[in-house]
Amino acid sequence: MIRTNFFSKEGEVTPANLGEAIQQAIEIEIATIPVYLYTYYSINRVPDQDAISGSLSQALVQKGVPLARANATALELSAELMVYANKAGALIMSVAIEEMLHMALSSNLKQALAGLPELIGKSPSKWPACLPGHEPEFPINRDKLSLDQLMTFLKIESPDPLPDKKLLKAPIPYKTIGLFYQMIKDCIANNDLRYNTHSPQLLPGKGYYAQNNVDTLYYDKKHKPHFTNAADSGDLLYVQDRDSALHAITCIVDQGEGLPGAPGFKDGKVDCSKIIPDDYDDFDKKELSHFEKFARIYCSYEQLTKKFNALGIGAIDISSYFVANVAKNPLTAHYPAEIRPVSDFLNGVYTYLFVMVENCYKQSGNTQYEIFMFGVHKSMIFILNSVCGDIMKLTYKNSEDGKTYNVAPTFEDYPFGLISSPKSQLIDLYNAAVAVYPTISYLGQRVQDLPDVPL
């Protein structure tokens, strides 16, 4: 991770360091993206219900439960598990796409107030990672879905300060992301700043951002779709004056932590009691804040675990039914030589996304539109998602613990060199990857179609 130097007096955002503070905000948003995506891809959102139901029923019958009752219980619980797996994935993806929105809103803010946002090479390079400037510092892993991982998510999005231990010197310190943004807000509200309205931003109404897609919905027991994001919860916004700048920040904070007054942890634990209006981030009360979405996944995980373990057929780890066996914080370097080219290609696509988005802040009009619509969308929705699915079909033996794992997307920044264009390097990465893993050959034309964007 290329860490920006944030020179500042502790806890103060001034017009002099406002640009650094907004860049820090951008890097906070970027740091969350690989974490949420990694956990998302660890979830099998459509596990095999027949297999789950069958094994449960068999175990119940062996325990002496009559077959009809065993089948009915197994069907009911397997259906609940199907919905849980599907919903957990939808909620995590719904947060991930809003983090991308926040990255864009913060970038618009920086473009208007302090110059070009820096996005390339800002993903964490060391794991466990931390949020730049967060006090107290806490470890953030790329890890599969679990209660521990959900607790990390909740700490990231917490509206309340976490128990404090030590102070940091370098980045501007803050107790919650909302409080950090509040410092930026105060600076914007209390100073007469000049707004650059000539440089390109990512604007609403162009089709760049969509609140929902097929990955942010989940199905209930009757396979009816439910949408996890609301259309009125937030969108891209043109930052052109004080009001629009403050509006952009309010959107980010409300989506993350809920409305002012939303409760966080209760006595250090996840509060599984009833949802209150402040837990939502939209006018119609249809979309929960990130914190509350994660709290709901956490609480449902506990409840479902209790239900399974009340069957009396032994201790059951429900994650074994729908969570892939991926390692914690893997790096491409950990993978065997025959897999590394595929991981490098995946990381090349991931990094090229940031290259393209950053370039959108240098381009306007149709050029920006084409880069975003045909480059960013095609890379994110089709190419990256496809490679993530394909790479997880591979397994490897970890040399450190001797165990076998599914290969997982590592979401590392690929170090594109300056000698040739990033796209030509991405094509080289694709060619190396397809040579060892022909399964991805269907992506060749799509990589070829990507816009050629410089560093």
């Binding site: 959102r45 459509v46 219900q49 027949d50 259906a79 199907m82 919905v83 599907n86 994935g89 939808a90 993806m93 089709g207 760049y208 969509a210 609140q211 929902n212 897609n213 097929v214 990955d215 942010t216 919905l217 989940y218 199905y219 209930d220 027991k221 009757k222 396979h223 009816k224 779709p225 949408f227 259309a231 050029t367 084409e370 880069i371 619509m373 045909f374 969308h377 095609k378 929705i381 089709f382 998602n385 699915g389 264009s421 796209k423 094509i427 080289d428 694709y430 060619n431 397809v434 040579a435 022909p438 050959s441 060749g444 034309q445 799509r446 990589v447 070829q448 179609d449 816009p451 050629d452």
Partner: protein, 195 residues
Amino acid sequence: MANINYNPNLSLCGGSAPAPSAPGAQASLTPAPELHVCMGLNACKGHDRTGTNNCAGTGSCATAEQHNCQTLNNCRGQGGCGLYGDAEQQMRPGDNECAWQGSCAVPIQAERFSTLGENAGKSVWLQARKLFEERMMRAKRNFGEAPFKCGPPQNWLISVLGSYDSCGNSGDKRCSFGFNDPEDNAKLLCEGKKE
């Protein structure tokens, strides 16, 4: 396609325009059918995948190239929509302005619903058919009924195309899932209701 080669002229409008060249000898041209995205959306006789339909609106299948996700359509009017894209795009299945501007797979299976906008939760194919019928009315053309009233069911597409896939990780509408009744869900969509 395995290996690919880098060519800077392939990027968007990269490279210079080709030198003008004189037309060669008159080739024997067969008129191409209009390209459209699904069953029941053909504007002319004989313009479906088999070339045998008798009337506008009665074609069996798309003439546009089959694809399975957003940004993969070849040109104008050849993209499906419904599972990705913003609210405005999702109101215009089969009516995108240019290449790569479609927001979902082609053809459009009967089970597909919109995920944003006024049509959220409702059938994408019915929206596409509505746009088609409005176009025919403007053109003062009669049109017939589609072979399937609410668009081609996914199982039928698989049977005739060999395989069929549309994007997304949240699950196939026909898969085993809790207590789902695919026929009942399809019926609701067909009636223009939200699932």
